[in-house]
Amino acid sequence: MTTQKNTDDRIALLQGTLDLLILKTLVFGPCHGQGVARSIQRQSEEVFFVDHGSLYLALQRLEDKKWITAKWGVSRNNRKARFYSLTSKGREQLLEKTSEWERLTRAMGLVLSGSAAPNNEEV
């Protein structure tokens, strides 16, 4: 998965995070790809930019793993669209990945905020 670099303050998605974001988005109910992309961008207060090509490949990958299912339906404004919804397997994965992510961010936070005291002493 590649991320697209922009000159503004958008942050490129870390590898492996897109899957988690997609799963999280789908917790609120079935949604089509464009909706998922919009939702991620809005939820992140426009910080994350989702490369659409990568998004659809990620959706396909999740579908292949049977974490989500898809079927063609009609959107609110009467457009044909492919709607994705979470499977029970997907829900389990979401819980697991979320806790994994939280442990990661907590650890990152500890390292970054807990002032590198020992190093400072030596200098």
């Binding site: 464009q34 659409h52 404004n77 669209a81």
Partner: protein, 885 residues
Amino acid sequence: MFSRKRSVEDFAAEIKAHLELEADELQDDGLNEDEAHRNARVAFGNAPAAEERFRPRNRVPWIDNLLRDISFSLRQIVRNPGFAIVVIVTLALGIGASTSIFSVADAVLLRPLPYPNPQQIVRVWEKMPNGHQPNLAESNFEDFLTQNHTFASLAAYDYGLASVSGGTEPARVNVSSVSSGFFPAFGVQPFRGRLFTADEQRPHGTPAIVVSYGYWQRYLGSTTELSKFHLDLEGGSYPVIGVMPPGFDFPSDVSAWISRELDPPSPSRTGHNWRGIGRLRDGATVAQAQANLGAIAHRIRNQYGTQVDLNDAVVVPLSDAVVGNVRTALVTLLCAVGLLLLVACANVAGLLVARTSARRKELAIRAALGAGRGRLIQQFLAESFALSLAAGLLGILMAAAGVRVLPVILPADLPRQQGISINPAVLLFALAASVVVAAALGLFAAWRAGGPDLQNALSAGSRGHTGPRSNQRLRSLLVIGEIATTLVILVGAGLLGRSFFQLISTSPGFRTESLVTMEFSLPVPLDWKVDDLATERQVHLLDQIVMRLRALPGATSVGLAGGLPVAQGDNLPDGGFLILNGHNPPADYDEFGKMAQNQAITGHALYAVTSQDYFSTLGIPLMAGRNFGDQDTINSTHVALISQALARQRWPGQNPIGQTIEFGNMDGNLKPLTIIGIVGDVRASGLDAPPASVIYVNYRQRGMQQNSTPTILMRTTAPNGQIDSAARVIFHNLAPDVPVKFSTYAMELGGWLAERRFLLLLVSLFALAALLLAAVGLYGVVAFFVTLRTQEIGVRMAIGAQRSDVLRLVLGEAARMASFGLIIGIVASLAITRLLSSLLFGVSATDPLTFVGVAALLSIVALAASWVPAYRAMRVDPVSALRYE
């Protein structure tokens, strides 16, 4: 993946939906429609790229890759046509030659005979205690027929040339006399008309004749009314009752079949006059049949003791019997052509190694970009398949041309050669050969490319192009292999060539040049009854013909014989005779048989009917005694001449002149013969046989029998055609119904040599092609050696090396490869040429002269091939060489 695969179209539809949804939202945000669509597309990024990335998820990747590899290979071929052409032509040469030879082997050896359940059809022989396998004697055959329990049908047959008239013109053709089991043994129904009825298969029954498809077309005008035709055959008249289908050709080249049972049986247990053929009962094996007949033979032996000469029987599948000794020749050819294909492959492998070196950078980049080993192998296979299949196609075209040319050089007596064609089996062979070659070469190239040094190629800079020396070593090994293989083929060709020249320089015992031959037939009754009256009639006619021929301008002398010596090979009649030594001649053949039990008074010799002038015409010298003369008439003492070989063998240290012998078993005339002279030796049974023991009898006394092929031999100073037309008129006037075959002795002898000439020609051709390929391969390696070492050579010359030193360096390298190849080749040849032994004459399979000569030839060719690059190395300019990269 168990779920149904999504199609690319579905994916594209989803992206389209996305763009529309995005545009809708943008419009809601206040953009106009166009702007909304544009922005949606911009926001999405590269939609086709996304689709492209989706694609591989959805396909079987290796097919995709394969298609890409093939198109890549084709582009490579187009970009570098020289390489491709050399490879394709080299491989096509090998594949084409193998396919041509395979088409012959397929028709002659492999394809089943064109009869129902052909594996059940067998030939049958008696077997003597000394291992000889004679044909069947009439009474023994009757016992085999009535007592066996393993044959569905068993038949006796014989065949010979006969004059047949009653068709559109008289013809001298092969006619076969067959017993009632013959056609059932083959299980073939006539194409038109019917086969013999019971009434046509009993003594003194109704005569009838079945003709071949070829005879029916040529001499009966493909008539639908067979009943219109009665064929006259050796004094009898036979109504045509049936026509066999086109594929039925047994015995080979026979035009008509008559029933054997029309003639009353002539019981004998030692007259091996009948060939045996039969069809096994369902479920019976060849071994069982042989044991069955062997037991019957044993019973006969027990019952009659030494009055019979058999004690066993031999049963051989017809397919094996038909092919006979041709198998060795064909297997030799297949081996030679296989070796040629091997040399061609080695040559191409050498080219591939060189090219892989040149492509190392490209390959390294591909590997660096993530091409796995499998992908690289696949790419090489795609390339070698493209090249090999193109070569296979070209090879098939070459084989198709070859198959058209082959009949010209094929020996006329090669069995089943009408079936030689490019058929599915042959195409399959060509395809299989191409695929095997492609796989071998592709894997070989991939193995080379995957070597550990590939990774260094990128960092090796510009010098990386020349490749490591290990490649050069590998190419040297390939060339050594090529030289060794070529040597094997060359030795084979050399041995066959030496045999051939040994043969044709062997004197048959007389002068063969400017000798015209006229083969004809006389009406001889089939039942061995040439009585004195018939003989006198014959003699009268023959004398007239000879007298008129002798009067022709250009005719030096004219002889008459009952067969052509040497050229007819082992077709001359032979048999045992009795030395009477004061004994009374036997009164009948039973007594003859009893007397023949006494080894002390028997001998074995060829039987030749000749005229007085036969010896002077051929130039066979009279060594002792006198020749036939006018005093020898049918009523005077019957006389004989014998060959020196017989005199040496049967009367060592004695004078055979004046001895009386009994040879009536050959011509049905029990009048004893008195030996009156000894003549020079003739290799009558063939140039490859020792001088024959021959008993010559006078045609004026014995007449021409059924076992003779009356032939006039004329020594002439006139051009051929002139004699032919004049002689034709004489025959036409004196004997209008007698067909005559005009030829020259040289041509008849050529026919006898045809099989050897064919084998020699083809093996030599293959050897020549292999030699060329090996020379090209050696040239390539030596040239590359020089390229690799240009710098080194420059340095050497800069510090004072002479040009001759450089020459020695390069030629030394070539000589090293050549001598390795020669040594390996000689060792291999010593093992392999043994298989040729049965095809050789007057030269051993390990003939030192051939080995030395072939090694010398290969050395000279190797030297010549390396001379050009060596010369170039010698001219290297040290200054530019040092700058050379």
